[in-house]
């Protein structure tokens, strides 16, 4: 692992990070960068594909995740990966999602240089757009970070509050804030050979306080893990058909959650297919069985069916919840379900591309009690 630092000039973290990125781009080590950058209105930061270093005004701190970066990398690489290295700035949840998409043959890591960024959390789109404090969300976040206070916590999306791991793993290069005195420096670490080669050629200073980083990362992981455990305990209450149906009551079956989910990649979702088209008499017959019948039908079937299809790969990014027009707190059900299902198969989504997705492999001598009771 190579440990370097970016010196922060004039207390401008974002600008100094941009200097690094633009240096990376003009060095020719990468041909382009996919990085979050605020739109001209400054109301939202989207992943932007930048090839001209002069046009780079990115904001790698911007606490917003409007779309899945993993899904964008999938779109860019699944037909044919780039022929020269492409730098992709991603948060840890999106790196996990990308690894899952690679396993599902929906993305390629060929010539993709993953630049992971420490992520304390992101705000819902509308909180970011109409931020109540008298500063930009990025300024606010950096201030809170320097003060080490938890003022930002109340603005974070619920998925971020109980994030599985805010520190990127599986990245080629990591831009680290945890443990850094961000008024002075940001950590730059190479986690792979590719990353090492790139960093070697950029003249960066060596990291002096490596222990600080290690300790801070351990601390934040512990802290988030504790919060997640508390969350899991609290949400044990959603059990039984009465509570489950009440939980999903506001679902209008719009499938936005599926659209936002990085894991749901199917070109034609089963739930959009003609399987659900039926003659009028079939609807009427179903109404007759219960005496009455809510329309649009099959909302809960969609939710539970989708859960069955993607939960083992769920990286808990919470984009489903953010996409819900009726603000159903989906993570309250999806995080416990993901936790239990992934534990059952001892599966860790996003950990390693060589770990096979449980539903495509099997062992002859497993779950012997199922089918033989």
């Amino acid at each position: 692992m190579t440990h370097k630092v970016i010196k922060v000039k004039d207390n401008d973290v974002v600008g100094s990070a941009n200097d690094f990125l633009s240096h990376l781009l003009s060095s020719g080590k990468i041909q382009a960068l996919l990085v979050p950058q605020n739109t001209p209105s400054k109301k939202v930061a989207f992943p932007v594909l930048i090839s001209d270093p002069k046009k780079l005004h990115a904001d790698i701190v911007a606490p917003i995740l409007p779309v899945s970066t993993a899904a964008i990398v999938s779109k860019m690489t699944k037909v044919q990966p780039p022929s020269k290295p492409l730098g992709v700035v991603m948060r840890s949840c999106q790196i996990r999602a990308l690894i899952e998409l690679v396993k599902l043959n929906q993305a390629s890591l060929m010539n993709i240089v993953i630049i992971g960024v420490d992520c304390p959390g992101t705000f819902p789109i509308n909180t970011y757009t109409e931020f109540p404090e008298k500063k930009t969300p990025t300024q606010f976040l950096l201030e809170v970070w320097t003060k080490k206070s938890d003022e930002a916590e109340k603005y974070f999306r619920s998925a971020c509050q109980v994030c599985k791991d805010p520190v990127p793993t599986n990245a080629d290069i990591v831009l680290g804030f945890y443990g850094a005195d961000i008024e002075k420096e940001i950590f730059v670490e190479a986690h792979s050979e590719v990353g090492k080669n790139i960093l070697q050629e950029l003249s960066l200073e060596d990291e002096k306080e490596g222990k600080n980083r290690e300790k801070a990362v351990k601390e934040i992981r512990n802290e988030k893990n504790k919060k997640r455990t508390v969350f899991l305990k609290e949400k044990e209450g959603i059990k039984g058909i009465d509570k489950v149906s009440e939980f999903f009551d506001k679902c209008v079956n719009c499938h936005n959650c599926r659209q936002a989910c990085p894991i749901c990649y199917c070109k034609e979702c089963l739930f959009d297919s003609s399987v659900f088209d039926a003659e009028a008499y079939k609807f009427l017959r179903r109404a007759e069985i219960k005496g009455l019948f809510k329309m649009p039908n099959d909302a809960l079937l969609f939710q539970l069916g989708r859960m069955n299809h993607m939960i083992l790969s769920c990286v808990e990014c919470g984009l489903c919840e953010q996409a819900c027009p009726n603000t159903i707190p989906l993570m309250e059900v999806f995080i416990p379900a993901a936790e239990n299902a992934q534990k059952e198969f001892d599966y860790h989504p996003g950990k390693d591309t060589s770990e096979k997705i449980p539903m495509i492999v099997y062992r002859e001598d497993e779950f012997l009690e199922v089918g033989e009771k």
């Binding site: 089963l270 069985i289 009455l292 099959d298 939960i311 779950f367």
Partner: protein, 149 residues
């Protein structure tokens, strides 16, 4: 009096069970039970599928949410699958479905996966008897009362 009436009602309750049987083993097993004139409860409504591995969880959920009292999936014994490993995949899928139903506190006991070969007519009949009784004990599927799903 009303207690008695309830008790009486539970005994009267005839579970509706949806059975997905694989074409090569379990369906033939059910066929054998029939041609051998082995008696078994008529509570199961059989749907023939090509392989237990082709039964997506969605179909099982659909039956449960529509108010079926139980869902049975029958496949070839491990190692006997006509498509080499469909039943192994069905087994993993069942484990996943049961896990999710468990998380949400929806009765996973209503879903049964069993291996029944083409020669096991008696086993099919016995399994149907066992399942009908087990589901009768569980009582009617509470989901059946919910129309707002």
């Amino acid at each position: 009096m009303s207690e008695e009436k309830k008790e009486h009602k539970k005994e009267d309750f005839e579970p509706k069970i949806v059975g997905f049987l694989c074409n090569w083993c379990s369906y033939a097993g059910a066929d054998l039970a029939g041609t051998s004139r082995i008696q078994y409860p008529p509570n199961v409504r059989i749907i023939r599928v090509m392989c237990s591995g082709s039964v997506d969880s969605m179909y099982i959920l659909r039956a449960l949410l529509e108010g079926a009292d139980g869902v049975f999936v029958g496949g070839c014994h491990p190692g006997d699958c006509h498509y080499i490993d469909g039943n192994y995949k069905a087994r993993r899928r069942t484990v996943l479905l049961e896990n999710i139903l468990g998380t949400l506190g929806l009765e996973k006991e209503r879903v049964w996966l069993r291996w029944i070969s083409a020669s096991e007519g008696q086993k099919f009949a016995d399994t149907m008897k066992d399942m009908t009784e087990a589901v009768r004990k569980l009582g009617p599927n509470p989901i059946a009362k919910h129309w707002n799903l």
